[in-house]
């Protein structure tokens, strides 16, 4: 019997399993979901019962922990040198790396959907407790824009992880970028212009608000290119040519 090529779906299943079969991966995923729930509940206790506001609070734990999960996924093979085994079983390294990128993005979408669902009963409970009317309506574009933004935040983790192949450095860049850009934005006109085009936190705002105009879309595209598309492509190219040993 002649073996056939490894199908991509199989690589995807293997890489999804690797995401959760170590303690660090499992702790991160469970914490992200757990803290998302805590965030939704805490917001329900303290603010007006608006469904999307409650769900949106989950962005803080999800946006902090899921990029870290993404970084650990793409850098793990180097830290433990398991690349030696993985790329011997599938020498077409680009396929393996593509299979590594998709599960963290899917987990991000799942995390957002979970937050939206968890916010449903919490909104009803909060409305009953506070004795006020709950607000359920929200523009669908806002919900989709929010999920898309969260996916981009995780995508930045993939980009930094693949480009640097060094988990601590990638994590620092991802987590410090918000603070860093707010400083840059205050460094006069030039700083403000730079931040307006390159700060993912700023450029994703119109997407989150569901009002992505031509100019905003261009800014978003540029920043996504710089922080996600270019680093992911450069990382995959570099790893494909790298000597592994």
């Amino acid at each position: 019997m002649t073996p056939i090529d490894i199908p991509f779906t199989r690589l995807l299943r293997v890489e999804t399993r690797k995401l959760f079969d170590t303690r660090s991966g499992l702790i991160l995923a469970v914490s992200a979901i757990g803290l998302a729930l805590v965030a939704v509940v805490a917001r329900g206790l303290t603010s007006e019962p608006r469904w999307f506001t409650l769900a949106g609070t989950a962005a803080i734990p999800l946006g902090t922990l899921l990029p870290v999960l993404a970084i650990l996924t793409v850098t793990g093979e180097w830290r433990h040198r398991t690349a030696l085994t993985t790329f011997v079983l599938e020498p077409r390294r680009g396929r393996v790396l593509a299979a590594k990128c998709l599960p963290p993005l899917a987990v991000t979408v799942a995390g957002c959907v979970f937050a939206l669902l968890a916010a449903l009963p919490m909104t009803a409970v909060a409305a009953a407790v506070h004795g006020v009317e709950a607000t359920w309506t929200v523009a669908p574009a806002k919900v989709l824009g929010w999920i898309a933004t969260m996916v981009l935040v995780t995508g930045q983790g993939l980009g930094m992880g693949l480009a640097l192949l060094n988990a601590p450095a990638a994590i620092v860049i991802c987590l410090a970028s918000t603070a860093l850009w707010s400083t840059v934005a205050r460094l006069g006109d030039m700083g403000a212009i730079l931040a307006g085009w390159l700060d993912l936190n700023l450029t994703t705002n119109p997407l989150m608000n569901g009002g992505l105009t031509g100019d905003a879309a261009l800014r978003l595209t540029v920043s996504v290119f710089v922080w996600i598309v270019v680093p992911v492509a450069a990382g995959i190219l570099r790893i494909s040519r790298k000597e592994i040993g």
Partner: protein, 237 residues
């Protein structure tokens, strides 16, 4: 079956491999013997497509390894028993391998049994494994796909005398059933016991080739090895 054809590899002008050529036939064990730093691991990484030769070519079944369809099904490889995620269990490592190769889960138990890892040991995290256990796990991983060719880098390192004897028997029976086995080692005695053919390498060059019997006749394996490697060192210096 496994063929090195004039393989050279230079790192920043320094030659790690210099026109290495040899063949491993089906049904035989070839010992790839050389002191530490001779270029054994470099050659095996080139053979498995992890590294590219500067010139020459290495093939398995007549083709570069990376061009084989699902190469792990036909070629079993163990390059470094230490390259494992410490948080995964031995069983999980084998399960991931079996999944990747599209093998039934029953192969996980079979391979584990074949190398003598108990069920309890298999459930433990590999971070707590001894080097000998890691070698057994790595060999189990290499054997998952019932390969026709086997590439092992220093598999005897860390094995106790019983383990070494077990491995000798295993490699012999695999070769007798038609497998082409290439194993590297710096342990003369180990290679002498199991190999049919020996390729001696030093400073990136093939110093001598022949059957174990030929080496024994021409002054003994150890003496030849020490003389040739000393010569190679002198000419490099």
């Amino acid at each position: 079956m496994i063929e090195f054809h004039c393989v050279s590899k230079a790192y920043k002008g320094v030659k790690a491999l210099d026109e290495v050529s040899f063949t491993v036939e089906a049904g035989s064990v070839t010992g790839f013997l050389g002191p530490n730093g001779a270029g054994k691991s470099t050659a095996l990484r080139i053979l498995t497509g992890l590294s590219r030769p500067t010139s020459g070519s290495a093939t398995v079944f007549g083709r570069p390894y990376a061009e084989l369809a699902c190469p792990g099904r036909r070629v079993g490889t163990l390059l470094d028993a230490g390259a494992l995620h410490p948080g995964r269990s031995g069983r999980e490592v084998l399960t991931l391998g079996a999944m990747m190769l599209g093998l039934p889960r029953s192969r996980v138990e079979e391979s584990q049994e074949l190398v003598g890892l108990t069920g309890k040991e298999g459930r433990r995290a590999v971070g707590g494994y001894s080097l000998g256990m890691r070698q057994r796990l790595g060999i189990a991983h290499a054997l998952l796909g019932r390969p026709e060719a086997l590439i092992l880098d220093e598999p005897a390192n860390g094995l106790d005398p019983q383990g070494i004897q077990w491995m000798r028997g295993l490699l012999r029976s695999l070769a007798d059933s038609g497998c082409a086995v290439l194993l590297s080692s710096h342990l003369l005695h180990e290679v002498e016991q199991v190999a049919d053919q020996i390729v001696m390498i030093g400073r990136g060059r093939v110093l001598a080739r022949g059957t174990v019997a030929e080496f024994a006749r021409d002054g003994g394996l150890e003496r030849t090895f020490l003389e040739l490697t000393a010569q190679a060192d002198r000419s490099a210096a």
